[in-house]
Subunit: 761 residues, 2 copies
């Protein structure tokens, strides 16, 4: 059957005249027409427009609640309307704290007051808009006023605290200073508070995005010494969106939590600082040397502390409701109006946000303009296309989450796919998303040209992952999202942009795409992410903005125009199989590591190998984990594999040339039913109860990690139970995920049955 | 047979009364007596003496040709004599250049003159002895006066130039600046010259031994900003020792080369500088960013150049002959006076040299004093013990090499083992050497206590390599020189201390030992390697100096007192098998890497994946290497394996309790013959022709790498031929090494035959 599936793919690639393959889910005729419309579409996006949009949208700071945020929303609305789309603004009222007071000072052994400000850069016009700029801070930090010894905690992730335990260092009662990187920033204060810290500073070490990585702004693209990364520290792994309205839309009359009942604020005050502000604090630390992997690129010897450095941190915020302006535009579907292809990108920024999010927003606007032109030329998408310019992404995916929660019921019925983008740059295509769409994305990437090499985007990706191709410093990037062979793999979605509510909460198949990997950037969430920076150091001539519009727009069209939604379950099943193997190995490795370490503790290894001049604390013995029963996953996987093959057979039969069911009018009703069942497949991957301790997250295959933040955890209920050594819960989650996979298998089988029916009609 | 060998080892461990194992090569009675003498010996070394010796020897700078170098030699001589040893000074006259003029200046785009001086440190008394200190320089650099653009070449090893090629950067006509580390320093100007550079600067990046690694002197042990690493850049991988007298002793009347005919001087001028002097030069470089792995810990963006930085480097030296004073002391052997156990450590330093070499020299002196005491108590070593306090190690192993070359003929007849030490510190035992002594070293290490843990040195090593024991930053150290199980492995000897002439040139089984791994040090070859530094930051109470005296002295005694030399060929054969597997894999990997890369080049991978804004040059296609014929090595190895087993059987038979041949007077002559054949085994591992292009190096199993310097290359003729893509030569070297291994097998068989004869007597 595998061979049959392969043949199908090959036949599909070469069977059609004019060397254009018949697209999956299309009849021969409709495929040809689609190729024509897409070719017209891809000729439209214009780099001059992209540049103009960026200049307009990033001309002034446009964070949530700012005048220019609203002005941008209204301008986007006017553009959608100008291009002939049915557009409107949908507004929400959300909790969005802004700083009233920010103080960081070293009070012992010497005195130093942190500057906490990003200076104007000569030549960069918008960098001096200080009246409108949001000061550097972490949104959803609580108010606080603490003075305490300082401890350096590296990235501030759980394993860093294990290393501190080995060094005999506690952060109880301390202010921790963590560097940005290696986790989403919100994890750092969360884990620090769990360990008893009373405050948290997060700084940008030059090793991560400063001079170690390249020349600093304005000579180069990297973070200058006073640059600060703003950002949300809301506990998004618990739930994103407005903290006052979990699970429901933050409409005018929504029932709101009292501030004191909100669970997603931090437990301790937290503030981001620059490396110019961090260096005197770090240099004042004594205590053990930081382990080698903890040391950054500042010209100091990194010590852990605690003390003698003592720090005073004082923070107070305005805890106001602010309005959000989501701009929504629709192109109604001609054949399946109740099947929605949703395309989104946020428009709000921390400051001017040329790269984040305007580079992506501009591409989306150009897609909308192009489709408006096509509509005038007679193009009729079968499904409804919904463009969403989200507000409030930066503070916590507010605009997308509140909209998705408000329209949850309708979305669960109608939404076929959500396609997201955010910042965009030069280089290689990155796609993350639902693996039922992996094959689909591969076919689109074959039809879009890479602007630098003129070969297809897919071909450039293929060459990049060839053995022997080791780009400078690129080994890691190569392995992510790229497998061997002709097809590229897509990575799983964690969090960090507006797809979360769609995928994680509602179970809507989602994709996130963008270009990048060539330029480095150290202006993320700072005053310097602006038009000057972008047009000097990133996709300066907007050719990759155009490529993003081409590939995202082609994807939307190809999904909207298909007779049958182009989901595939072969790659999906293969991916799940990989995940199952990973959690099985994770469990086995956890077991053997603990057994091995216990034996070493029994033999006195840690005391014997310790340097008495730099004493360490031996780790504690741990209970040996039980063997887990993975049979429910293995059985479900076997069934899923079988079902995926059935679906392939049914699709092949229904697509057979000559009498293709996809072309026949009398098969239309059955196809509608098949489509509806295909849409339902992703829904079956959710559970009503959601993940352990965070019921908002309902998807059982993908979730942002509870202790990674943006970073994905696949099979999260199982994987995180093992990681957190919750063995009983792990066994329960295996049963739950096994059941979810069985449900998915049944839904796929249902779609296959409809297809078989259609072929017989 | 393997099982039999294991049983022998176990029986040997527990067969003797009082739980003391019968030592290999000893009868039960002589083993008991040896245990007693060694216990007495190990009780003698005194930490107060070690401290006094260090204070005396490091009180003033004592480089070759300095007054205090001679004074130290005479003091050591007086001590040897005071302790009852037959001692004398043996003198040689060697080429030893010292600086007349040193200038490094940045001449474009701005002007900066390097300081080239290590300032006095308050509190450190000897750091201010500027009148006697040798200025910072690299010995055997040629004179030169060049002005040229600067290029940063990372560590300056061959693979760094491959990376430069990919960046399209040539060093032709440039002055290169390389950082210390990752190769012996002499490799850097050698490879730079091969690539057309006209000058070379070597600096100590703070990443390697400055503030990145710990607090800097005098607050901590690491290199301060003005600290400089002196050192030789003589082409020692070609031949070490006096450049004017290759292969012969540099006696008064030796025939000397003209300076212009010397091959071991550098081809371009080279000077070491501090990181304070390097930073302005590196900061002035533009051109491509240095690859991530090239970046050090200076607070700059590392660029490669060339230019705009232009540097003027001017060097002139006195090219004088200087006297060397080797101090040699003898304890004549009672039974086998013509079998020598040689124990050496150098006494000369670059400046005050408390750590290098006095910490090791002090231990050796204490061994000599203790043996002097034992002699008075009636101890009679069977073999002759020779103590050697070498001069001129720092410039190029001068004292040991000239002595070994002068006495080559006698040494080849008489020398059984050479045991070396050099600097010593706190922590774990490091042993490198001939694998015929691996088992022997393991037994000695079981009898010496680690001063910090009170367990045996062997036990601490065993616990360190247990799975689950992952010391902070210690992963690499663990894997070097340590195998799993009860025995620790010893690493092979490259170069870097006085064993080279003995092992590499004369084929005398050698060991090098010392403690370390706990303290870091950034004072290597600087003014600050002095008594103040050592007594604040290293083995401050000299307990590891005492442990070194105990283990080295016990080793010497146990080798000197044995009826039968304790060589073993099981571990040796197992080690050779590992090396053969390595070179076979090296060859296979080289082949598949080239095939893979050629395919990638054909497909256009490198142009397709390149960032056009930062262009790189695709690598050139290479001829696919042939398959090599490894059969001669595999066959020789099979024969060697068989022979090692024969020897084990013969030794077991000869050692059988009750009628041990080792105890019988009538077996003495046969044992003498067996010993003589055992000594010969290491000689069979040499070839008359020596290694390709460097005939001074005659050992076919171990050599310092032609492009690593200190770093060892095992099976060097074969391995380096493969690395240098000399495929024909590789095939020839395989045949040669196969023959050498066959010869070794025959020598071992000869020893086994004598043992069998002794058992029958």
């Amino acid at each position: 059957m595998k061979r049959y599936a392969l043949c199908l793919a090959l036949c599909a690639s070469f069977a059609s005249p004019a060397d254009l393959p018949t697209l999956r889910g299309y009849s021969a005729d409709s495929s040809k027409s689609e190729h024509d419309w897409e070719a017209k579409f891809r000729a439209i996006p214009d780099t001059g427009n992209l540049r103009d949009y960026m200049q307009r949208l990033s001309a002034r700071p446009h964070h949530v609640g700012s005048p220019y945020d609203k002005a941008n929303a209204e301008w986007i609305l006017s553009k959608f309307k100008e291009w002939g789309l049915d557009a409107s603004i949908e507004s929400f009222d959300v909790l969005f704290p802004t700083p009233k007071e920010r103080i960081v000072e070293l009070v012992e052994p010497t005195h130093f007051t942190a500057r906490l400000a990003e200076p104007t850069v000569a030549g960069d016009a918008t960098s001096g808009q200080h009246d409108e700029q949001l000061p550097s801070y972490n949104a959803y930090s609580i108010d606080g006023d603490v003075t305490a010894p300082l401890v350096y905690v590296n990235f501030g992730i759980p394993e860093d605290y294990e290393a501190l335990d080995r060094l005999g260092i506690s952060v109880k009662g301390a202010i921790v200073i963590a560097r940005y990187g290696n986790s989403w920033r919100g994890i750092k204060p969360k884990v620090a508070a769990e360990h008893g810290a009373v405050g948290c500073l997060i700084y940008s070490d030059p090793h991560e995005d400063g001079y170690f990585q390249g020349d600093v702004f304005p000579e180069g693209p990297m973070r200058p010494k006073d640059g600060v990364q703003r950002g949300s520290v809301m506990d998004m792994p618990t739930y994103p969106g407005d903290p006052l309205t979990p699970g429901i839309g933050a409409t005018k009359d929504a029932k709101r939590l009292a501030l004191s009942d909100v669970k997603t604020l931090t437990k301790i005050p937290v503030l981001p600082i620059s490396y110019a502000d961090a260096q005197p604090l770090l240099a004042a630390l004594h205590g053990p040397m930081a382990p080698a992997a903890w040391r950054g690129a500042l010209p100091i010897t990194y010590h852990v502390g605690p003390g003698p450095a003592k720090v005073h941190l004082k923070l107070a915020f305005n805890w106001d409701l602010k309005p959000l302006y989501d701009v929504i535009a629709r192109i109604p579907g001609s054949a399946y109006p109740d099947e929605w292809i949703i395309r989104g990108n946020h428009h709000d920024a921390w400051v001017n946000g040329a790269e984040d999010p305007v580079s992506g927003q501009a591409a989306m606007l150009e897609e909308a303009r192009a489709m408006g032109l096509l509509l005038k030329q007679g193009w009729k998408p079968k499904r409804t296309i919904v463009f969403c310019a989200w507000d409030g992404e930066e503070p916590g995916l507010l605009g997308s989450t509140e909209w998705a929660e408000t329209h949850a019921e309708e979305l669960q019925r109608k939404a076929a796919v959500y396609l997201n983008s955010d910042g965009n740059g030069r280089g290689f295509l990155n796609v993350e998303g639902s693996h039922t769409l992996e094959k689909f994305v591969n076919t689109v990437a074959r039809d879009v040209d890479d602007p630098e090499t003129k070969m297809s985007v897919a071909q450039r990706l293929r060459l990049r992952r060839m053995p022997g191709a080791v780009p400078e410093d690129g080994a890691q990037e190569r392995s992510a999202g790229a497998g061997a062979g002709q097809e590229f793999r897509i990575a799983a979605l964690g969090s960090g942009s507006d797809y979360s509510a769609f995928l994680d909460h509602l179970g809507i198949a989602s994709l996130n795409m963008g270009f990048g990997g060539e330029d480095r950037s150290g202006i993320y969430h700072s005053d310097y992410d602006d038009f000057y920076w972008y047009t000097h150091f990133s996709d300066t001539n907007f050719v990759y903005g155009k490529a993003l519009a081409q590939i995202a727009g082609s994807s939307v069209m190809r999904m909207a125009d298909a007779e049958l939604l182009p989901f595939d379950f072969d790659n999906f099943t293969a991916t799940i199989r990989r995940y199952v193997a990973e959690v099985e190995k994770l469990s086995a490795d956890a077991r053997s590591r603990i057994v091995e370490r216990n034996r070493a503790i029994d033999e006195g290894v840690f005391t014997a190998t310790m340097d008495p001049r730099f004493p360490t604390v031996p780790p504690a013995k741990e209970a040996v984990p039980p063997f887990l029963n993975f049979a429910p996953l293995d059985n479900a996987l076997a069934a899923l594999d079988h079902t995926a093959q059935l679906y392939d057979q049914a699709l092949a039969k229904a697509s057979e040339n000559g009498a293709s069911a996809l072309a026949r009018e009398n098969a239309r009703a059955t196809l509608r039913e098949a489509n509806s069942r295909l849409i339902a497949v992703e829904r079956t991957l959710t559970s009503n109860e959601g993940l352990p301790n965070r019921p908002w997250y309902k998807h059982e295959i993908y979730a942002p990690g509870f202790y990674t933040g943006y970073g994905v955890k696949t099979l999260p209920g199982v994987r995180e139970s093992i990681e957190q050594k919750q063995w009983k819960q792990a066994d329960e989650q295996i049963v739950l995920v096994g059941k979810v996979l069985e449900n998915a298998g049944e839904a796929i089988q249902g779609a296959a049955a409809e297809l078989t029916k259609a072929a017989r009609n």
